[in-house]
């Protein structure tokens, strides 16, 4: 069989993930400390696991509504109202999905027609581009820079807009940079969005991991609710990555369109994960705050450590990543990451896998124990010393 001829060209055109390549390189190297992990090092708080186990014991093993359990959607609506004064009808404006990833894919497929352009500030999470391509859209990247603290600048956005521009993706706090956008920054963006009649996909998965300044949901800005899809989930704030549970909240017509795809592809998110998510929203704040506090403490340690060794690191105000510049070393991001792995046994992610403007930077996750971070920083320090 000649699979290359059989497999759809659209899939063949999706480039291999840069992270995947690096993953293969890392496997096989012993005694590594990884700052390359994009998920919490905490285990899901026990009360959440326990609630899910209890639901299994009670026999909750069936399908739920396509939208998800109503009780969960009600809590999600309550959460969005209490945090951002956003009102969504849990009946038809909230959709529970298998992680934010699924929700994003649904939205892209529901929105994009062949050739529609999606504006993507970068560096950014690796799946927006392939998902857009798979949905038939075209990605137009908008670069951000360390000088601007990796915020999306209104002027740069304006320049990227064409008459095919349809969707803007915002993900703040940002993976990989840890950048946040405050209200003024977002207000500027919202004007351009309004003028150009864009739809905004606001990926707020790291919203609850905002350490400085308030977290502003894009939908809560004047006039933006009607043109914004809010995405959030439980993976990062509640350490629930493996549960694969997230949601989208948006006006009824687009949620309905997304639900149409969801009902045929996924049917519903797993009920045990939905029960766990419900417990997280109702009773999870205490544990969430503990983890938040620990991340914030580690954030300060890693940023200071990186700056001390001479790698300029702007202050990440959210998520759990530091994104220092390695330009001083004269190495490319990939060379730096590869040599750091081979010579010092520390895993970081080369910044260029998140987009061209990530070249010259590395992503260091501080979702790792303080001992690991301290040891990794010590190893990196002696590695960098050799280079500069």
């Amino acid at each position: 069989m000649n699979w290359e001829q059989i497999i759809s060209p659209r899939i063949q055109d999706v480039p291999p993930s840069g992270i995947r390549k690096f993953f293969d390189m890392v496997s096989g190297v012993d005694d590594v400390i990884s700052l390359g992990v994009g998920e919490p090092d905490f285990v899901t708080p026990w009360h959440i696991n326990e609630a899910s186990i209890y639901s299994l014991e009670q026999g909750s093993t069936m399908y739920t509504s396509n939208y998800g359990l109503l009780s969960l959607r009600e809590e999600i609506a309550k959460f969005l109202y209490s945090k951002h004064e956003l009102t969504y009808n849990p009946e038809n404006e909230v959709l529970v999905t298998v992680g934010v990833s699924e929700a994003l894919d649904l939205a892209l497929r529901a929105l994009l027609s062949e050739g529609d352009e999606l504006l993507l500030p970068e560096p950014c999470y690796v799946s927006y581009e392939p998902s857009t391509v798979l949905a038939g859209g075209k990605v137009v990247r908008v670069k951000t820079s360390a000088q601007d603290n990796f915020k999306l600048r209104a002027d740069d956005l304006k320049k990227a807009i064409t008459d095919r521009s349809k969707v803007l993706v915002l993900c703040y706090p940002n993976n990989p940079t840890g950048a946040t956008m405050d209200r003024e920054d977002l207000l500027e963006i919202s004007q351009i969005v309004e003028e150009n009649d864009l739809i905004v996909l606001s990926d707020e998965i790291y919203g609850q991991l905002t350490y400085e300044g308030e977290y502003v949901s894009f939908a809560s800005l004047p006039g933006m609710r009607k043109r914004t899809i809010v995405f959030n989930g439980f993976s990062k704030a509640y350490a629930m990555t493996g549960w694969r549970i997230g949601y989208a909240a948006a006006p009824k017509p687009i949620i309905n369109a997304m639900m149409k795809i969801h009902q045929y592809t996924m049917l519903c998110a797993p009920i045990m994960s939905q029960k766990a998510a419900l417990e997280a929203l109702v009773n999870g704040d205490r544990e969430r705050k503990k983890m938040f506090k620990a991340y914030n403490q580690r954030r300060r340690v890693i940023v200071q450590g990186l700056n001390d060794m001479g790698l300029d690191c702007f202050e990440p105000k959210g998520a759990f990543y530091a994104f220092p510049s390695i330009k001083k070393t004269g190495l490319s991001s990939e060379e730096f990451a590869q040599r750091l792995l081979e010579e010092a046994g520390v895993v970081v992610i080369p910044g260029n896998v998140f987009g061209e403007s990530g070249e010259g930077f590395i992503r260091c996750s501080y979702a790792s124990s303080l001992e690991n971070i301290t040891e990794a920083l010590a190893r990196m320090k002696s590695f960098v010393k050799k280079l500069v």
Partner: protein, 161 residues
């Protein structure tokens, strides 16, 4: 701020003032000063290490003794508690609500030693009405830390987006 420093030290008493200063974004001199005051005020009583003795060769027996006491006029339970906690065999004493008054934890080399201590020293103290001895068979969790066989390995993928 004091609580944050105490929380960090409670979870790891070896954290240096330098590190605490970074973690909490407080100047190092300030951290040192606060710790000194907390030590002087006996809020920080002692810096200890949590040890899983079951993993060592050493044989120690622990027992929790429920002690019923007739309180003394004027001094309540404190005087009896004092007579009890002065024994070096006693590792902790708590005043309890409920079915008995003092919970006493005792450490000994054998069950016999502990039992003899209770019979000869503890039960004979004036105002002690009765005792009930419960030997500790296994420690699952202590001071918020789960005692496991091995350190749990990080099961996460080494690299993820």
């Amino acid at each position: 701020m004091n609580d944050d420093i105490l929380e960090l030290l409670e979870s790891n008493s070896r954290l240096s003032p330098d590190k605490i200063s970074t973690m909490l974004d407080i100047p190092q001199e300030k951290v040192e000063k606060v710790i000194k005051v907390l030590e002087e005020e006996n809020v920080i009583v002692k810096y200890c290490t949590l040890i899983d003795w079951d993993k060592t060769e050493r044989d120690i027996v622990y027992a929790l003794i429920d002690v019923k006491v007739t309180p003394e006029r004027g001094v309540g339970f404190d005087a009896v508690a004092k007579r009890i906690y002065k024994f070096s065999e006693v590792s902790s004493v708590f005043l309890m609500s409920g079915g008995y008054d003092l919970s006493v934890k005792i450490e000994g080399r054998s069950m016999r030693e502990v039992a003899l201590f209770v019979a000869e020293k503890l039960a004979t103290i004036e105002h002690v009405q009765s005792t009930a001895t419960h030997f500790i068979l296994k420690t699952y969790k202590k001071d918020g830390i789960i005692f496991k066989k091995d350190k749990k390995l990080d099961e996460r993928l080494v690299v993820s987006p």
